[in-house]
Symmetry: C2
Subunit: 362 residues, 2 copies
């Protein structure tokens, strides 16, 4: 009896040893971009280094995801300044689960997660790492809509527009709303939400094509190419009675000008500051001071990160999905093909080359 | 009978005619400062012209006030830019009622009113004019405290500190509060209210004497002469764990630096922007952009004009009076003697020559 026990224990131990060996035989490789150098000024492709790595076997609770769609977003530029070099470049992706030791995340399902710029990732959805900006979640049913929308209108940018505009600007029907970066992933949605809420919407974007899109397809009341029309002149024309809400993706000089056109008790939602993202955080560019506008017109200006509304996340996704399905809300994606082109897509997005959401098809 | 009526009517008409004549015999003269030229850069004494005027007799509802204490405040500089030349220079005063045709405002009582820079004023407290920024009111009983406090700690600046700090910054005990213009009429009170509420208080002021006053008499936890100590260095020393609330009287470069030291979800109450008051509103000075701090730290920044709390005005006055009487709150006044010296007092105040509230004794 005692001997039997010993034999059983030996067998168990052989089996336990075999398990990782079996996984190793079935080796998984990933490609990833490493932050090789901190960005200085505009990011260069050489700041990001493409490497291959072998992945270890899964532990209990882990899943292996294969990137299907990857995101490039403005926040990546300033956020990396605070992170060490050598890390996998940060970012979210739509991943397909191709192996799983987590019952809640079965093989074949799709997740949205901050898995970084890599093609295959081992990840425990219940154990977020420091680069996990929000919990990984299984995508809800998108019906016939493409999965890439989980990175755009039905994901972080969509909720950024939905909560960041409605909660901070508290727009009322009939009010005048200005959006900067209006043809971007977030701005293009904010303008349309503002119209759905009965506001008059004025957008600023960086090309004539974008302006045409805003006016013709998104039905903005007015839109301007800020590279051709000075913002002060544009607002005198489009908002002769002043601006009530400003959704700001850009910051800097443009924003100082918009603030000078605001009405008493106006609200400013500061979503981004892309005009200064390529600057050194210790040597930010200057712009005309905003305090006089704030005081004399009692303006309220608030910055936000969308994850403050994590507890209402699916409310935003479902509302945006309904608007998309009802054709009340139009979206556009600028798709770059190939994981290897992520740096190009990122740099292009920071230059404003995208219309709508910039995504990469792995 | 018919003849008698005619005679009576004639007598009445003579009496009615006599009334204004009698008033005219008892002529009242006022001295006042006229805005002769719009200020350009720093105000010059010659921009304000001292004139004498005869006052008409009182109409029903009117009172005649004699200025006892007059106020010079920073807001006067930017506000006059929007007003036409030729107006009586705007401002509040403590006036003694020396003649009255208004039962609610009897002779001998004192009022606080926006009566402008003049020694004697005819005024109907129920009919505010366009330059009346808030309704005229009878001073409550100040006990042994001087009436001049109605222009400072027990008036607009006191309520500016009380409501503007507590309502907008929503400070919690243990938080770190920074005050710019800390030795001024409002800033000196904000710092003390913050201490009463259990916060750690750091002040910036423009002279060593002011800094000594803040530390020795007002018990600020730290205070710096911003002309000698760079704000970034000061905050690294005094607020190594960051700043939670910022009460801003100054704006501009200093404020951009303070914002860069703020903690996530920090609150900024923008009370004034004195660093740019002498600038042309169309050519404001520039400062490092504030949007990156607002976004990445989700800061909330709100400008205000104290009159939004008019319905709670006496709550503020009574609370401040209690704190003054209990010696929990110290105040200082910088007194200029003589109505004729109002322009000097005004220019000096804008230069920061005052400590605490700048007032003029008529």
């Amino acid at each position: 009896m005692r001997q039997t026990l010993v034999i059983r224990s030996a067998i168990t131990s052989v089996l336990l040893t075999l398990r990782p060996v079996r996984a190793r035989l079935n080796m998984v490789k990933t490609k990833k971009f490493i932050l090789a150098k901190h960005f200085q000024g505009e990011p260069k492709e050489s700041d990001l280094q493409l490497v291959e790595e072998e992945l270890p076997p899964l532990k209990d609770g882990e899943i292996l995801c294969e990137a299907v769609w990857l995101s490039v977003d403005p926040y990546m530029r300033p956020y990396t300044a605070r992170l060490p070099t050598g890390i996998t470049m940060i970012g979210s992706q739509v991943g397909k689960i191709i192996e799983s030791r987590n019952k809640g995340f079965p093989v074949g399902k799709y997740v949205l997660g901050y898995l970084g710029w890599q093609t295959k990732t081992i990840h425990n959805p219940q154990q977020p790492s420091s680069s996990t900006m929000a919990p990984t979640y299984l995508l809800p049913d998108f019906g016939e809509l493409p999965l890439s929308l989980a990175l755009g209108v039905l994901g972080m940018p969509g909720n950024t527009a939905y909560f960041g505009f409605l909660e901070i600007c508290q727009p009322k029907a009939g009010e005048v709303v200005v959006v900067s970066g209006a043809a971007g992933a977030v701005g293009s949605l904010v303008g349309q939400i503002a119209r759905i809420k009965g506001c008059k919407v004025i957008g600023f974007a960086g090309s004539d094509d974008k302006v045409r899109w805003l006016k013709d397809d998104l039905h903005f009341d007015a839109a301007y190419n800020y590279k051709k029309t000075d913002v002060d002149t544009a607002l005198k024309e489009a908002a002769p009675n002043g601006v009530d809400c400003y959704f700001d993706n850009v910051g800097g000089v443009m924003s100082s000008t918009v603030l000078s056109h605001m009405n008493p008790r106006g609200r400013i939602s500061v979503c981004g500051s892309i005009s200064s993202y390529n600057a050194d955080a210790k040597q930010l560019p200057s712009a005309p001071v905003v305090q006089p506008s704030l005081v004399f017109k009692e303006l309220k200006m608030e910055g936000f990160i969308v994850h403050r509304w994590l507890d209402r996340w699916m409310e935003g996704i479902h509302q945006m999905k309904d608007w998309v399905k009802n054709k009340e809300l139009v979206y556009r994606e600028t798709v770059t093909e190939g994981f290897e082109n992520m740096p190009k897509a990122f740099i292009g997005m920071l230059r404003g080359e995208n219309t709508g959401k910039a995504v990469v098809k792995a």
